[in-house]
Symmetry: C2
Subunit: 276 residues, 2 copies
């Protein structure tokens, strides 16, 4: 079993419809288990719940908030189907962990599920992948100067390459444009699927780093859209932001698969500190 499949492995449902998994520090960064992994785990539980009720299986949209940081240990996902239509299923999913005997909510999200094969074609309009050097000509994030996050388990789960044109922030020279481009693979070469694309959308360093921000960038709200099942191989990623006010920025992520097809995109509002 691959690292990712192990990380989102669930048992259930129990008699109350709950699914149980285990979070590990292998996927932690900055003291918390990565929120992207939590999104993929919650989505996997929701898809299991939906298909067991003859609903749809593939995530189309995921809109969520994070309520407290996930930590290593057991985690429970409670999916609830809100509506099953002919072409889509709408659901809510909450994740919780027990802390000192008290159930604490980690995340809550609204999801839409459907059949991605049906929604992938025809392509009437799409944005082409950015023009940048191939992964072999992009520096690996593992070669970046050490930071307090360098030892994080999460970073070891990926092979992440950054376009040299957007990597200045790593050596103290952010471009100020608010853009980051690069390539992403799972370190153990497990290919991405529709569910793990949600984690991929949040796996890059925050785009605020290219605007001179250095600290933690907590997500206020995240909405991800999966538009097609990705082909095997590297994902091409682009992060950008167009509105930064009062320490809040929206971060737009786009992902193209190895065939050059846009397969997922997201927007999150996040909170960052900028040098004044």
């Amino acid at each position: 079993m691959t690292e990712y499949d192990e990380a989102i492995k669930l048992t259930g449902p129990d008699d109350q419809g709950r699914y149980t998994g285990t979070l590990s520090d292998d996927w932690a960064i900055g003291g918390a288990v990565n929120g992207g992994l939590l999104m993929s785990l919650a989505t996997a539980a929701t898809a299991a719940c939906s298909t067991s009720a003859d609903g749809h299986a593939d995530p189309l949209t995921y809109s969520g908030v994070f309520l407290s940081p996930g930590t290593a240990g057991e985690i429970t996902a409670y999916p609830q189907i809100l509506r099953t239509g002919r072409s889509m299923t709408t659901a809510e999913v909450r994740t919780t962990q027990r802390v000192d005997g008290i159930e604490v909510e980690r995340s809550r999200a609204l999801l839409t599920l459907g059949d991605l094969d049906r929604y992938a074609e025809p392509v009437l309009k799409s944005e082409p992948a950015p023009d940048m050097p191939g992964p072999e000509d992009c520096p690996s994030a593992a070669d970046a100067p050490p930071t307090p996050l360098t030892g994080s388990g999460f970073l070891k789960r990926f092979d992440l390459r950054l376009d040299p044109a957007t990597v200045g922030w790593a050596i103290g020279r952010p471009s100020g444009k608010g853009e980051m481009r690069g390539w992403l693979k799972l370190a153990d070469e497990r290919d991405f699927d529709a569910t793990s694309l949600l984690m991929a959308l949040d796996a890059f360093p925050p785009v605020s780093f290219d605007l001179g921000s250095q600290g933690w960038v907590p997500t206020v709200e995240f909405t991800g859209y999966v538009r097609a099942v990705p082909a095997p191989g590297w994902l091409c990623m682009r992060l950008s932001t167009s509105t930064v006010t009062g320490g809040l920025l929206e971060e737009d992520a786009q992902i193209w698969d190895s065939t050059g097809r846009l397969v997922a995109h997201s927007r999150q509002l996040a909170s960052a500190r900028f040098p004044s």
Copy 2:
């Protein structure tokens, strides 16, 4: 009291924390009460609930799904505060109506609230308003050729002007670019505020019309972001889409106030039929 204030007027909370309002066909379009009005009403209930618990008052993000069409009559909003932090409050809100004695859910959303004065400044990065003729030089939507929607109450609540460069679809000549620009005011001149901006984000004709689609465009998921309290006067709006596949498109809306400041933006995934 203005038309809009009347439309989102709420009584409550009752002993279970529910707020009650009334939907009217004056805000209906295509047989359902407009979802944007429902978003503003649900947000108003959530803000009332939040402030009564010393939480924050202004909507920052609204992410929601529509579960069934709202109809004229009593509507109940149940806000639930999920987390109150120093700078933000996170909440969920559901709206329901009774149909034949059964409670039917209309919408469910996750909201983040905060103090917009705090998050409006400084502006580090923003997109300028599009260059287009002023409202006096833009045709009014009321002058468009009649369609099955022309008589809708919702359309009478607004003064909506379209940039002549993006209005070809109304006379059967869509540009195919997937863009629409224009101006928006409430018909009774009530100025927009943070909460009514959510309704404004969904008040324009769907951008899919500029791609040759003509029918109803149901929202799959909607996320709106309010970035500042708008100054009085006309709102300048721009709608665009960059990914249209398998009958699903994302519609991005941006709103600038009369001072040229970007005050709100949104993305929705919607379902549309395109001529083949």
